[in-house]
C-alpha cells in the first residue's frame, strides 16, 4: 500500500460475477443460514429458468424432495449449477436440467447449497415448475420425455418470434 493509494469501495453489479466468485459467495451466504439471490445464466433449465432471471436460494432445512430445483456444486468444477432433483437415494440425489440431454449424475447432499424458492423475470414472478407440478416434471425428465413435452412449447415460442 502506498501513501498515495486511496481506499475506496467499489459497488459492483452482481450480474457481472464470474462463476467461481458466484459459487464462493453463495456458499458464504447460505452457510450463514441466509437466502442468496443472484442472476441465472445459461439455458439448461429452460423454459422455467432463463438467462438473466433472478433466483433465490434457501439453505436446506431437511432433505430436498423429488422435483425440487436445487443449487449444487458441480463435480470437478469450481462452479455452481441449478437443476432439478429427479431421483434420490440415501444422502445422494439424481439431478438434471429440464433442458439438458442427460443427468448430472448422483450428487451427494454435501454438495447441495440450497433449494430455489423464488424466480423473478423482470417484474414477474415465475411459479410454474416450483409447485406441485414439479414432481410430474421430474418424472418426465427421468423418463427422457422432457423434449417431447417441451417441443410444442419451443415451436410456439419460435413461431411467435418469427411473426
Amino acid at each position: 500500500m502506498t501513501a498515495t493509494s486511496r481506499p475506496f469501495i467499489i459497488q459492483q453489479e452482481g450480474a457481472l460475477l464470474s462463476n467461481s466468485r458466484l459459487l464462493e459467495l453463495a456458499r458464504a451466504v447460505t452457510e450463514r443460514g441466509a437466502k442468496f439471490r443472484f442472476y441465472a445464466t445459461g439455458g439448461s433449465m429452460a423454459p422455467l429458468i432463463r438467462d438473466g432471471d433472478i433466483l433465490t436460494i434457501q439453505p436446506l432445512d431437511g432433505a430436498p424432495g423429488l422435483g425440487d430445483v436445487v443449487a449444487f456444486l458441480c463435480s470437478g468444477h469450481e462452479r455452481m449449477a441449478v437443476h432439478r432433483i429427479i431421483g434420490s437415494r440415501k444422502d445422494a440425489y439424481l439431478v438434471r436440467g429440464d433442458a439438458a440431454g442427460q443427468s448430472d449424475g448422483w450428487v451427494p447432499r454435501s454438495r447441495l447449497l440450497g433449494k430455489i424458492i423464488h424466480i423473478r423475470r423482470g417484474e414477474q414472478r415465475i411459479r410454474f415448475g416450483l409447485g406441485p407440478e414439479r414432481r410430474a416434471i421430474a418424472l418426465l425428465s427421468r423418463l427422457n420425455l422432457m423434449n417431447t413435452f417441451l417441443a410444442p412449447a419451443r415451436l410456439a415460442v419460435r413461431w411467435g418470434r418469427k411473426s
Binding site: A3, S5, R6, P7, F8, L25, V29, R32, R37
Partner: protein, 100 residues
C-alpha cells in the same frame, strides 16, 4: 448519537454482512431481511481497503489500526490515518461496520 468516527472506538463488521476473499479481492455482501442479494448491492474493497479491513479484529481501535498500517507500510502517517478514518466512516454509513 454522533456519526463522527471516534479514534478511540472499536468498529467491527456487522452481523448483516458476509465477507469473502476471492481471487485476491475482498467482497462484501450485505444481508438484508435474511437475504444476501446480488441484485441489490455487493462491494469490493481495493488493496488499501482490504488491508484496513483485516485489522478490524474487535480489539484494535481506529487509531491503533492507523498506527499499525503506518508501521507496516512505512508511509505518511497523516495520510494513512485520513484513509483509515475515511474508509471506516464510509463502511459505517453503509452499515457494513458497527461500533462495538
Amino acid at each position: 448519537m454522533s456519526d463522527e468516527i471516534q479514534g478511540g472506538a472499536i468498529y467491527v463488521p456487522s452481523d448483516d454482512v458476509v465477507s469473502r476473499e476471492i481471487e485476491g479481492e475482498l467482497i462484501l455482501v450485505p444481508i438484508a431481511a435474511g437475504v444476501g442479494d446480488l441484485d441489490d448491492a455487493l462491494f469490493t474493497l481495493n488493496e488499501t481497503g482490504k488491508a484496513i479491513w483485516k485489522q478490524l479484529d474487535g480489539k484494535r481501535t481506529v487509531k491503533d489500526i492507523a498506527e499499525e498500517l503506518t508501521k507496516e507500510y512505512a508511509a505518511d502517517g497523516g495520510r494513512i490515518e485520513a484513509d483509515v478514518f475515511g474508509l471506516i466512516a464510509e463502511l459505517v454509513s453503509r452499515r457494513i461496520l458497527v461500533r462495538k
